[in-house]
C-alpha cells in the first residue's frame, strides 16, 4: 500500500496576495505546486501541515517573458516546459540542461521551477518512513537530538539536491519574492543557508513568484552525476557560466548542488580570470571545488566520491565551454 496522507485542508487562491495571506495564517501551511517533493514527504510523515495552498490557480505564475534585458520565468512554469522552451534553451543552456536532468518525464510535467528551488534537503537518515526513523532514533531534522551523519556536530547535514538552483546561481538569476511585507528581490545565491534543517532564507509565508535572468549571452552548461540516468537525485551537480574575450576568461561562475546543505557559488574563481582555459587552469578549478564542497554521509554513495566527481564535472564543463569559446574566437 501507499502510506496514507495525513489530513489537511486545501486552499486554491487565484491571486498572489491571497496566497500569501493564506500562507501567513496560523496553524501551519505549505505551498503546493507540482507536489513531486512535498507529497512524497507528506506520505512519509516528514511533515503534517494543516493547510496546503495550491498555487495552480494563479495565472501569472505560468508565464515566460523574454525582453532584451532579461528573461522572466514565472515560478509555476513546469520543468517540462523549461526543458523544451526554445528561448530558454537558446539563452540559458545550463537551465535547460538542469531541467532535463530532473527525475523523469512524469515528474517534469508536474514539477515547477519554484518548487524545485524550494525542495527540501535530503538525507538517507531522514527520507525514510516513520517506522524507520523511530526505530533508528529520531534525527535532528525530524525533531530529534542527534544527527546520525555527524553525531558529534550540532547541525543537520542533509544535502540540498535540487538541480535548477546551481544553474540559476551560475547564471546570476534573481528571485522575486512576495511576502507579508510586500515584494522583494533576492539573488538566487542568497536564497540558501548551510543548514540542512533550515536551508531556505525565506519566511513561512514567503512565496517565490518569478525568476529573472540577465539576457546578455553567456556560455553555460550543467552536468549531474547520479547512480542511474533518470529518476535520481544528484550525487553532485555542477553548473558553469562563463564569458571570454579574445580567448581568455572574462567571467566565470561555478555553482554546485548535491554536496552541501545549500547550493553555492564556488569562491575565489577571480584568480582564474584573464587566462586561457588550459590544463593548469582546469587543475586549479578542480582544487577549488574539492576544497569547497562538503559532502557528508547523507547518501549511500560514499562522500569521497561525490567530492571527486563534483570537481571532475566542473573541470569537464569548463573545458568544453572554454573550448567552444576558443573555437568561436578562431
Amino acid at each position: 500500500m501507499t502510506a496514507p496522507l495525513p489530513p489537511f485542508r486545501v486552499l486554491r487562491p487565484q491571486a498572489i496576495e491571497a496566497a500569501v495571506a493564506a500562507g501567513a495564517a496560523p496553524g501551519g501551511a505549505r505551498y503546493l505546486a507540482g507536489g513531486t517533493d512535498l507529497l512524497v514527504n507528506l506520505r512519509r510523515g516528514l511533515l503534517a501541515p494543516a493547510v496546503l495552498i495550491d498555487l495552480g490557480g494563479i495565472a501569472e505564475f505560468a508565464d515566460i517573458r523574454c525582453t532584451d534585458q532579461r528573461t522572466r520565468i514565472g515560478s509555476g512554469v513546469t520543468l517540462a516546459r523549461l526543458a523544451t522552451d526554445p528561448a530558454v534553451g537558446a539563452r540559458h543552456p545550463a537551465l535547460r540542461a538542469a531541467a532535463v536532468a530532473v527525475a523523469a518525464p512524469g515528474h517534469r510535467n508536474l514539477a515547477t521551477i519554484g518548487g524545485n528551488l524550494c525542495a527540501d534537503t535530503r538525507c538517507i537518515y531522514y527520507n525514510q518512513s516513520e517506522w524507520w526513523r523511530r526505530a533508528n532514533g529520531i534525527c535532528l531534522k525530524s525533531g530529534g537530538e542527534i544527527c546520525h551523519v555527524a553525531p558529534e556536530g550540532k547541525r543537520c547535514h542533509a544535502a540540498f539536491s535540487g538541480d535548477l538552483a546551481p544553474a540559476l546561481i551560475a547564471l546570476d538569476a534573481v528571485a522575486e519574492i512576495a511576502g507579508p511585507g510586500g515584494r522583494r528581490r533576492i539573488a538566487c545565491a542568497d536564497l540558501y543557508a548551510e543548514d540542512g534543517r533550515a536551508h531556505l532564507q525565506l519566511g513561512g509565508a514567503d512565496l517565490i513568484t518569478a525568476i529573472e535572468l540577465p539576457a546578455e549571452p553567456v556560455r553555460s552548461g550543467y552536468l549531474k552525476e547520479r547512480v542511474r540516468q533518470a529518476f535520481d537525485f544528484p550525487l553532485a551537480g555542477v553548473a558553469v557560466a562563463l564569458a571570454t574575450e579574445t580567448g581568455r576568461l572574462s567571467m566565470l561562475r561555478v555553482a554546485i548542488t548535491g554536496t552541501n546543505s545549500r547550493p553555492f557559488l564556488v569562491e575565489n574563481t577571480a584568480a582564474l580570470l584573464g587566462r586561457a582555459v588550459d590544463e593548469e587552469l582546469l587543475g586549479q578549478l578542480d582544487k577549488l571545488v574539492q576544497k569547497q564542497v562538503r559532502p557528508m554521509r547523507t547518501t549511500l554513495t560514499p562522500a569521497g566520491y561525490r567530492r571527486i566527481v563534483a570537481a571532475a564535472l566542473a573541470r569537464r564543463l569548463l573545458a568544453s565551454l572554454g573550448a567552444s569559446a576558443a573555437a568561436s574566437v578562431a
Binding site: 500500500m1 552525476e225 571527486i308 569537464r316
Partner: protein
Amino acid sequence: MHNAPPGRRRPTPAAGVPLIDGIDKVTGRARYTADLEHRGALVGRILRSPVGHGEILRLDVTRARRLEGVVAVVTGEDCRHTYGVLPVAMNEYPLARGKVRYRGEPVAAVAAIDAETAARALALIELEVRELPAHYDTASARAPGAVLLHEDRPGNIERAVHHVFGDPAAGFATADLVREACIDCAEVNHAQIEPHAALAEYDPQTARLTMQSVSQVTFYLHLMLARCLQMEESRIRVIKPFVGGGFGARVEALNFEIVTAMLARAAEGRVLMELTREETFITHRARPQTSVRIKLGLTRDGRLTACECEVVQRGGAYAGYGIITILYAGALLHGLYDIPAVKYDGYRVYTNLPPCGAMRGHGSVDTRHAFEVLLDRMARELGLDPFAVRRRNLLVAPTRTLNELAVNSYGLADCLDRVEEASGWRGRRGHLPRGKGLGMACSHYVSGAAKPIHWTGEPHAVVNLKLDWDGSVTALTGAADIGQGSSTMVAIAVAETLGVPIERIRVVAGDSATTPKDNGAYSSRITFMVGNAAIDAARRLKKLLIAAAAHKLGEDPENLDCLGGLFGSTRATQTTLSFADAAKAALVNEGTLTVKGTFTCPPEAQGGKHKGGAVGSTMGFSYGAQVVEVSVDEATGRIVVERVWIALDCGFAINPLAVRGQIEGSVWMGMGQALMEETRYLDGMPAHASLLEYHVPTSVDSPPIEAYIVESIDPNGPFGAKETSEGALAGFAPALIAAVADALDVDLDQLPATPDRVMDALVARRRRQRLQHQPAGDAK
C-alpha cells in the same frame, strides 16, 4: 530467423503469439490482489520490530484491542507453529515468539475498519525488548563468541556444504596457470513492481478460509496456511489473481500471507493486507550478499584442469531457502563446462537481517560471476581469446556431470558462434578506442528441479482438459502465471497438439478449488513439466476426438488427424468434420469429458546419491553466451552499456515472442545487479527500501539487446523445449566486468560496479602503475 525442427510446427504466426492475458493487462482490466473487490474488508497492518536482535520481554495489545474500530489483534501467541519452505528447516514464526531477529520482523498485527484506525492501533501496542548483540555481517556472526541467532546452529552456520568431485590437487598439478580471485557480490532484491498484498476471508459458518495472494506457488501457501492455522487442507482455498512479477520473491509462503489469514479468522471476516514498498523490501527472500573465493587451473591452451570454490552467503535471520541456495551455488559449478575436478565449500550464515531466499538464477548467479570473471582474467594472462577458452571446455551431450547432473542437450557451442559473429568480436575486440571494451561470458540454468522439495511420489505436473458440449476446451492448471507467460504456453501446447487454433483454448490457472495441484513457478519448471503434462493431456483428448470423428466419418482412426480445427483423412478424401461436430460426437454416451495429462521426472534424472545431490538435478539445462560492449568514463567512473548480444539455447522456442521477452528480461535484471542494484543496511535498518534508493535501471540506462534463439531440441522437453527465463541472467555481470577490463585494464572485484567502485579501481590501477615505475626497493 530459425526454422521449426522436422515434425514440429510453429504456432501461427511463426514469430510467436502475444500473451493470452496481455490485453487484460495493457487495458487495465486485469485485477491484481490489491485491485480485487474489497468493499467491507478490514484493513490489516503489521507491527514490526524496531531492533535487530532481542528477547521480547513484554508485548501488550490490550489498549489496541480496546480501540474503537479494531476488530482483531494477533501476536505470536496466536500461532505456535513454525513455517518455512523446506520441511527440514522451518524455524520461523509468522509473528515473532520469544525473540526478534531482524529489524522489521513482524511482531503483531491488527485488523481494523480503516487504515487510520489500524495505524492508531499499532501505536497503542506496547513492545518491550531486551536487546542482544546483533550481527549484521557474516564475519561478525561467525566470529568466536558471537551470539547465536538459533541455539541449534553453532557458529551461526545454517548449513556448511563440502563436496569434492574428481581429484582437485592432481588437477591443479597439471595446470600451467593457477589463479585465485575473491569476488564480493552485494545482496540484491527482486524489486517486482507489484508490492505484496493478500486478501483473506474466513467464513465462521463453514469454517472455510479463502485466500487470494500474490503467490508464485499457491501449493506451498496452502500447506503453510493449513499448518500454521491448524486447519484441514480441504477447508482452505487458495486463488492466485494476476501477479505483477515474482522472480522468486513469492515462491515461499510469506509471513504477511499467514498473518492475513490469522487476522481473517480472528475477525471472522475479510481482511485486506497491502504492504508498503518498504515492507515489501523487508519481506525480502532474495539473493544474499555473497563472498566467493575461487581458484581455477588452466593449461597453456585453455583447458580447465580443476576448480576450487568457497562461498559464504549472508543468509539473514531465518532458514528460508538457505540450504538450497548454498547447495545450488556449488552444484551449478557443474553442467556448463567440462571440468575434471571440483571442490566446493559453502557456508550459509545466519545474520540479523531480513531472510534471503530464491531469486532468478537461484544460487547460481554469484558463483557463476566469480568463475567467469576469473576465467576471463586467466585467458588474458595466457593471451588466449575468451571464446577459444570456452570452446576448449565444452561438454558433449548426452553426458552426466561429475556430480551426476544429466545433460541431455547442449547448444552452448552454437550460442558462442552466434554472439561472436553478431558482435563482430574478431574484428573489433582489441581495436576499440580507449575507454571502450568488449567482454563475454556464459551461463546456464535448470529447467525445473527434478526432485521437488515436498516429494510425495505424485507426478511432477498434472494438467486437466475439459471438453464440453459447446466445443470449448478448457485447460486447468495450477501453474502460476506471474507474467512470464506460462498460461499462454499451456494454450499453445494444447492447441498445437490438438491441431486447433489457440483461440479455442481457454486456460484456467491457479485456483485450488478447480485446478489440479501444481508445484508452481520456481526453478523454471513450468514449460518443461507443465508443458509436457499439457501435451500428454491433449494427446489423450485428441485420441478420444479422433475415435469419435472416425466413427462419424466412417474412416479408420489411424488415417485421421485434426489440422486447423478440422478433422479429416490424412489420405486424399475430401470429407471433413468440424471440431465442434467432433466434440459433439465424442460426448455421445459420455457427456462432458475431462482428461488428465501428467509428467514425471524419472529417478535417474533426480541427481546424485551424495548429501544434497538432488539440488541442481534437472531434465534439461538452458545455455547462454553473451557479449557486452561498454564505454567507461575515466573522470567519473560511469559505465555505459552500449550494446548486448545474447544467444540462449532454450531447446525449442514454443513461443518465440515470449522467449525473447524472457531473455531480454534476464539480461536486463543481470544488468541491474551488475551496475547499480544493491540493498544497504545501516545498523540493520534497510536504507534502500524504496524504488528511489534501490536503483533498478530505467529505460535511459538500458542498451539495445540483440537476442538470438538457439534450438538444441531437448529429447525430453515439450516439443524439445527447455527453460528460457533464467539462464541468460548470470552471464551479464561477468561479461560486463570483462568488458570494463578490456576497456581500461582494471579488475573489479565487487558487484555492483557503481561509479564510486570504478573510481576506486582506477585509483588503485594508477597507484599500481606508479609503483611499477619506481625502483624495486621503494615498493613494499
